[in-house]
C-alpha cells in the first residue's frame, strides 16, 4: 500500500498531507489537476511507529556533522541524542559505511559535539 506524504506550498503556508497512490507521478498529477498549491516534496512512507521511548537523559544532546565527498559536495545534519559509549572514531567509521554524499562515500567528516 504505497502511502505518500506530500508537502505543498500555498503563498507563505506549507501544508503537509498524506495520500495513497500507486506512484508518486500519480500524486503529482492529482495535485496538478485539482489543486492551486505547488507540490514541493513527496516522501514515500517506509516505516511509522507510535510508541514513545522514555527520556532518561543519558546521551550526548547532539552532534552537528558536515560530510564531504571527493568532489567537494557536502551534506550537513544534526544527529540528535548520540550514545555516550560511541567513540569519535567509531562514529566516523559508521558514517563512512552508512551514509553517502551525492551517491559517493564521504571522505571528510567534521563534527561538533553539543553537550
Amino acid at each position: 500500500m504505497p502511502l505518500f506524504q506530500v508537502q505543498l506550498k500555498k503563498g507563505t503556508k506549507t501544508i503537509t498531507e498524506n495520500v495513497e497512490a500507486n506512484d508518486y507521478k500519480d500524486v503529482l498529477e492529482y495535485y496538478y489537476k485539482l489543486s492551486t498549491c505547488e507540490v514541493i516534496e513527496i516522501r514515500e512512507w517506509l516505516e511509522k511507529k507510535n510508541t514513545i521511548k522514555k527520556d532518561d537523559g543519558d546521551y550526548i544532546d547532539s552532534v552537528s556533522i558536515v560530510i564531504k565527498n571527493n568532489f567537494k559536495d557536502s551534506s550537513r545534519f544534526r544527529l540528535p541524542k548520540v550514545k555516550r559509549n560511541i567513540s569519535d572514531k567509531d562514529l566516523d567509521n559508521i558514517i563512512q559505511t552508512s551514509l553517502t554524499v551525492e551517491n559517493k562515500k564521504p571522505i571528510l567528516i567534521l563534527k561538533t559535539y553539543n553537550l
Partner: protein, 132 residues
C-alpha cells in the same frame, strides 16, 4: 537515496534528512549511534529543494481557489474522507470524480464511487461549478 527521518525520545522529536544507498543502512546507522527511536522513515521521491525528480516549471499560483473540499470516497471494502485544500475554482464535479478515481487508492483498492463533494469554506461566496 535521500531519506527523511523523525527520531523521538520523551516529548521531543527531531527531524533530519540523510542520504544513503539503502533503507537498511539508515536504520542500522540510527540504531548504532542514537538513543532515540526512529519513529518515522520516508524516502524522498520528489523534491524541489533537493532537485529530486523535479522539473523546473513556471508555477503560477492562482489566487482563485476553494478553501477546502471534503470528498467522501468508497472502494470495494472501505469508505474514507479526502480533504482537498485550496482546490481550483473552476473544477467541475466530473473532473474531481475522474481525477480521484484515476490517481488515488484507498487501502490499496481502486476508488469506485464518490459519495459526496462538499465545500467547507467558500471564497467570495461562490460554489464550484458542478459542486454539490
Amino acid at each position: 537515496m535521500l531519506f527523511h527521518l523523525t527520531l523521538k525520545q520523551g516529548h521531543r522529536s527531531d527531524t533530519l534528512y540523510l542520504e544513503s544507498s539503502s533503507e537498511t543502512k539508515i536504520k542500522n546507522f540510527i540504531k548504532a549511534v542514537s538513543t532515540a527511536d526512529l519513529i518515522s522513515l520516508k524516502k524522498v521521491v520528489y523534491s524541489k529543494k533537493f532537485g529530486i525528480a523535479y522539473q523546473v516549471t513556471n508555477f503560477i499560483e492562482s489566487k482563485k481557489h476553494n478553501e477546502e473540499l471534503e470528498v467522501i470516497v468508497e472502494s470495494k471494502n472501505f469508505v474514507d474522507l479526502i480533504n482537498i485544500k485550496y482546490s481550483k475554482k473552476d473544477l467541475t464535479k466530473d473532473t474531481i470524480v475522474k481525477t480521484i478515481k484515476k490517481y488515488l487508492l484507498l487501502n490499496n483498492e481502486p476508488i469506485l464511487t464518490i459519495i459526496s463533494i462538499e465545500e467547507k469554506h467558500i471564497d467570495e461566496g461562490v460554489s464550484p461549478n458542478g459542486g454539490k
